[in-house]
């Protein structure tokens, strides 16, 4: 069974020339038949399938639609046409540490962040020690978040999110977390999750990391898939695109 089935998804953004948000401006706009926005297709008919337990890479230049695609998979955005089917629980790493509050302790923040990820208090208690052990922050659990360094902050967030035990994980460039030693730990953790049979969607500009993790990938350009298949080949196409354009 496939973990993700995306069927011809398209996404259109409206880019206003001048932001109109008041009702009056909108009414005037409608009466004058003047829609002051440009339509911009961020994704055009994107279809792909990801098998259960597969690690799948998405590469492409800035503005090619990678983040839009990931946000649609994460259900933050909805496609204008087409459909996405996802099986199991999905965790998205679009941004780490959402809802973290500076005035609360590391412990309280772990509970709050977990609740945003849809994990019950009981579950958090079970993985609590693992979260702090992985983040190497056991000593700091009673400290207010504002007193932690930004590296510690990211480690805590990453560790909480990775222990949420989802079936599918969406990762967008979050490997700039912590120092090199911790980054290596993150890669090891991802490898461990792969072995457990988790499905991972990996978006990155770090082609080495994509090559190391993903067997299959797709290349997006201007909202369309221009290459899909074995990562080696996709990356070669990407490099050709970069050099050609």
């Amino acid at each position: 069974m496939s973990a993700i089935t995306a069927d011809k998804i398209s996404k259109k953004f409206r880019i206003p020339h001048e932001k109109k948000t008041t009702l009056f401006q909108n009414i005037v706009g409608v009466i004058k038949r003047q829609f002051d926005y440009e339509e911009f297709w961020a994704l055009k008919g994107v279809s792909f399938e990801v098998e259960n337990g597969e690690t799948f890479g998405i590469v492409g230049r800035n503005g090619s639609g990678k983040s839009t695609l990931l946000k649609i998979l994460a259900k933050v955005l909805y496609p204008d046409s087409g459909s996405v089917k996802m099986n199991g629980k999905v965790a998205s790493f679009l941004e780490l540490g959402i809802g973290f509050q500076q005035e609360l302790t590391a412990e309280e923040n772990v509970y709050i962040y977990s609740s945003i990820l849809g994990i019950s208090r009981k579950q958090v208690k079970r993985i609590y020690d693992d979260i702090f052990a992985f983040a190497e922050l056991k000593k700091f659990e009673d400290m207010k978040l504002k007193n932690l360094s930004s590296g510690m902050y990211m480690r805590l967030a990453f560790s909480t999110a990775i222990h949420a035990n989802p079936d599918t994980i969406l990762i967008d460039e979050v490997f700039a977390v912590g120092d090199e030693a911790f980054q290596k730990k993150c890669i090891d953790k991802i490898n461990g999750l792969q072995k457990q049979g988790k499905t991972i969607i990996f978006v990155s500009h770090d082609l080495k990391a994509v090559k190391g993790l993903c067997r299959r990938s797709l290349l997006l350009n201007e909202g369309k898939i221009i290459s899909m298949g074995a990562t080696e080949k996709v990356i070669n196409d990407y490099l050709a695109l970069l050099n050609g354009g």
Binding site: R14, T21, L23, A74, K75, V76, L94, S115
Partner: protein, 269 residues
């Protein structure tokens, strides 16, 4: 085929309900955070929730007592009206901002977005319940007794909560698209205040206007509160049914509009 689609819709609804349950922890956290933030950095804290309606009631009492002071239980009725009014006005105006005030929870992560409105209205429900507890003790002092019909209060308050939640869903989702709505709502709230029997008794409403006047659900609710809390009567069945129907309709419309509009929330923020 159509039947299969219907089944899928039902399954989707059930799945959605299960999701809401999965996120109960988040509802709790957001409710507590909302409740706390309201009185943050004030030295009297939650006392303001009691103090400000009491002060308002005091002012209104001294202004209007010469006009309506001879009405039966004027002071008690005035207080009930103000407390009921507060739940509506604070509940709707604060939930209007519930989505816009939490951009990161809308644009960075998936959660059932109704939760943002629900937790906001729940925080208001807690304030309101505490206010009514204080109100009941004041009524006891004013009247010398409390009637048994007070036991109906939780049911009525729940219906009222549902109505406000529905209105909150509608307002908060529209506000993402039309940022004038908060100004318009403020005006409308003021109009509603004078169209509801809060500072004046029902008897001053001209008879020919009465049928229209009673269409205001807030009027019905305030009358019901007064009956069970002050007069010691059971509310009339028609008004109770009316409030239930309005509550359900507002909730259904609010939920429908919210579900449709939330699809583009992340782009419009």
């Amino acid at each position: 085929m159509r039947k299969g689609e219907g089944g899928a819709r039902v399954a989707e609804r059930l799945q959605y309900k299960a999701k809401m349950w999965q996120y109960r922890e988040l509802v709790r956290n957001l409710t507590i955070a909302d409740f706390k933030s309201r009185y943050q950095n004030t030295s009297l804290g939650f006392l303001w929730s009691i103090l400000s309606p009491l002060l308002l009631a005091g002012v209104l009492y001294f202004v209007f007592r010469h006009l309506f002071g001879q009405e039966e239980d004027f002071a008690a009725n005035l207080l009930v009206g103000i407390m009921a009014w507060r739940f509506f006005t604070i509940g709707t105006t604060s939930s209007l901002h519930a989505i816009v005030n939490k951009p990161s929870l809308v644009t960075k992560v998936y959660i059932p977005r109704q939760i943002l409105v629900l937790s906001n209205v729940l925080a208001n429900l807690i304030s309101s319940l505490l206010e009514f507890v204080v109100l009941l003790s004041i009524i006891f002092i004013l009247l010398g007794h409390l009637s048994i019909t007070v036991l109906l209060f939780p049911l009525i308050h729940f219906l009222y909560f549902w109505l406000i939640f529905g209105a909150g869903l509608l307002l908060s989702s529209l506000f993402v698209y039309f940022r004038d709505l908060d100004q318009m709502w403020e005006v409308l709230i003021n109009v509603l205040f004078f169209c509801s029997p809060i500072v004046y008794p029902l008897s001053v409403v001209p008879p020919y206007l009465m049928p229209y006047y009673m269409l205001n659900p807030l009027t019905q609710i305030i009358v019901i509160y007064r009956r069970v809390m002050v007069a010691g009567d059971i509310p009339s069945l028609t008004s109770l049914v009316g409030v239930i129907v309005v509550g359900i309709v507002v909730y259904l419309v609010g939920n429908l509009v919210f579900s449709k509009l939330q699809r583009r929330f992340a782009e419009e923020m």
